[in-house]
């Protein structure tokens, strides 16, 4: 499905603390966009607003489905089909890996018959090398395995948009690249769009199609990673290239 998500003037404040102040962003089908920025700039809030977990104060999130004829039809974000991978995985401790992954298929909006659920979940767990751990609880598994379970749960409904909230937090460099590879591999396999909040600059650039730099409540840069070199302001260019804030910028 070809679609476009247009975010315009999205704002959010908590009391007097303005976190987002007119964010404009565009997401298109089958692309990976990384949202980067310093801690506390509202990257996760942006994702939660898009997912509807938090309520926006102002702004619009418009979704359009683009037909083969080129005609654009407005649809809701839920109709596109999305899933969310939380920073801390948000797995249910009292459920096994299998039950966690199967949950959206059993309890979600479009429940499937038992046999179909079993088949689908087992297939996905196999693809993610989790087949032997399907009957184990999240507390019995490593951090990396829990990440993969959360990833499987996010993909099991075959969403068109996946929102990743810092999917590599707390992982060692090797596992970090495994998660990035996984996102890229399954994007190619399932054809979803990904909006990815990450601190892993510049590693994340290897898999993304575009980068959105969020600062002071606004998207200050949006473009391909290779276009970062074209930024004239040296401290910003330096930060976006290395993830380090130079002393001049402090």
């Amino acid at each position: 499905m070809n679609f476009q998500i247009n975010i315009k003037g999205l704002s959010k404040h908590f009391g007097t603390n303005v976190v987002l102040d007119g964010v404009d962003l565009q997401i298109t089908a089958e692309t990976i966009t990384a949202v980067i920025g310093k801690s506390g700039t509202g990257k996760s809030v942006l994702l939660k607003l898009i997912a509807g977990i938090l309520e926006k104060n102002s702004g619009t999130i418009e979704c359009t489905k683009i037909l083969e004829s080129g005609e654009a039809i407005p649809i809701s974000f839920n109709d596109i089909g999305f899933s969310y991978m939380f920073q801390n995985n948000a797995l249910f401790d009292s459920m096994t890996a299998f039950e966690n992954v199967a949950l959206p298929l059993i309890e979600g909006n479009n429940p499937l018959p038992k046999e179909k659920v079993k088949e689908k979940v087992n297939h996905l767990l196999e693809q993610l090398d989790l087949a032997s751990s399907s009957n184990r609880y999240p507390g019995e598994l490593s951090g990396g395995m829990n990440k993969r379970i959360a990833f499987a749960r996010a993909l099991v409904t075959e969403p068109k948009v996946v929102l990743f909230d810092e999917p590599t937090t707390g992982l060692d460099p090797e596992r970090k690249f495994t998660v990035f590879d996984m996102i890229e591999k399954y994007r190619n396999l399932f054809g979803f769009s990904a909006l990815l909040v990450s601190h892993d600059i510049p590693d994340v650039y290897k898999i993304v199609d575009s980068v959105a730099w969020l600062d002071e409540g606004k998207i200050q840069f949006f473009g391909k990673p290779e276009n970062i070199d074209l930024i004239s302001e040296i401290p910003i260019r330096e930060y976006l290239k290395t993830g380090r804030i130079s002393s001049r910028n402090l």
């Binding site: 509807g52 977990i53 401790d93 949950l103 309890e107 409904t157």
Partner: protein
């Protein structure tokens, strides 16, 4: 005077919010899938967790009542009325109230903490992103389970309490057992059992509703965050539920009498 009004206004606002939450939970539950399985699971969770403690408390409450009533009634030469006194006090008042307080202490606090931890761990948000109505999914089955398990556990409490009264009054103090049971059967009317049943159903809805409400909104506590917020929510849930059990007990009794 002004602060008293503020406290009253906050109480009414809180009560209204809890009632709306209960209403939402009961309705939203019907959107969820596998409803029967969830109700059975929750009923077992609440019921099985409490059955032992309810039986123990029921037995000893009945025994104490049998003993106290025996010594009081014998002063007036009315020891034959022991069965009446024990059965009516248990079925009308002590059964529903003490059972509710036991369940709140045993299951309510655990329920509140469980939902509070899920809230902190973003599992509640995860449910929403999966298209699952979190209130219906987490609170709904527990409320229906409360409706089922409270009257059943109250009945257990009443029965074992009557046995306790028989044990202390008849076996230990030597009152005629036939007279005890005859008095129990003749004095307990349908309205007494009905009143106890109504109370236990109301307590079930309100206490479980308060516990799930406090757990669900544990993250909104402005003074305590994280795990402290959860423990604070569990404490608040138990205190509020216990107070409301006694308040509602008085209100329902005044309507029934």
């Amino acid at each position: 005077m002004k602060s008293l009004l503020i406290i009253l206004a906050n109480f009414v606002r809180e009560l209204g919010a809890i009632l709306l939450f209960i209403n939402k939970s009961l309705i939203a539950f019907w959107v969820c899938k596998n409803r029967l399985k969830k109700i059975i699971q929750s009923t077992l969770e609440i019921g099985c967790r409490c059955v032992f403690i309810v039986l123990i408390i029921g037995l000893f409450t009945g025994m104490v009542m049998g003993l106290q009533m025996y010594y009081t009634l014998i002063k007036f030469g009315a020891d034959a009325a022991l069965g009446t006194a024990v059965s009516l006090s248990l079925i009308r008042e002590l059964g529903p109230v003490l059972t509710a307080l036991m369940i709140v202490g045993q299951s309510g606090s655990a329920l509140c903490s469980e939902i509070g931890i899920q809230r902190n761990g973003e599992q509640v948000d995860a449910l929403e992103t999966m298209g699952i109505h979190s209130i219906g999914f987490l609170s709904g089955p527990r409320l229906y389970a409360g409706l089922i398990s409270f009257p059943i556990l109250t009945a257990f409490f009443d029965l074992i309490g009557l046995l306790g009264g028989y044990f202390s009054g008849c076996v230990l103090m030597g009152l005629d057992g036939d007279i005890y049971w005859k008095k129990v059967f003749y004095s307990v009317q349908f309205i007494d059992v009905y009143g106890g049943f109504i109370k236990s159903v109301c307590f079930g809805i309100f206490t479980i509703g308060i516990c799930t409400y406090e757990g669900y909104y544990a993250h909104l506590n402005s003074s305590y965050k994280g795990i402290q917020g959860v423990t604070q929510a569990a404490t608040k849930a138990v205190v509020k539920s216990s107070v409301l059990v006694l308040v509602f007990d008085y209100l329902i009794t005044s309507f029934l009498l």
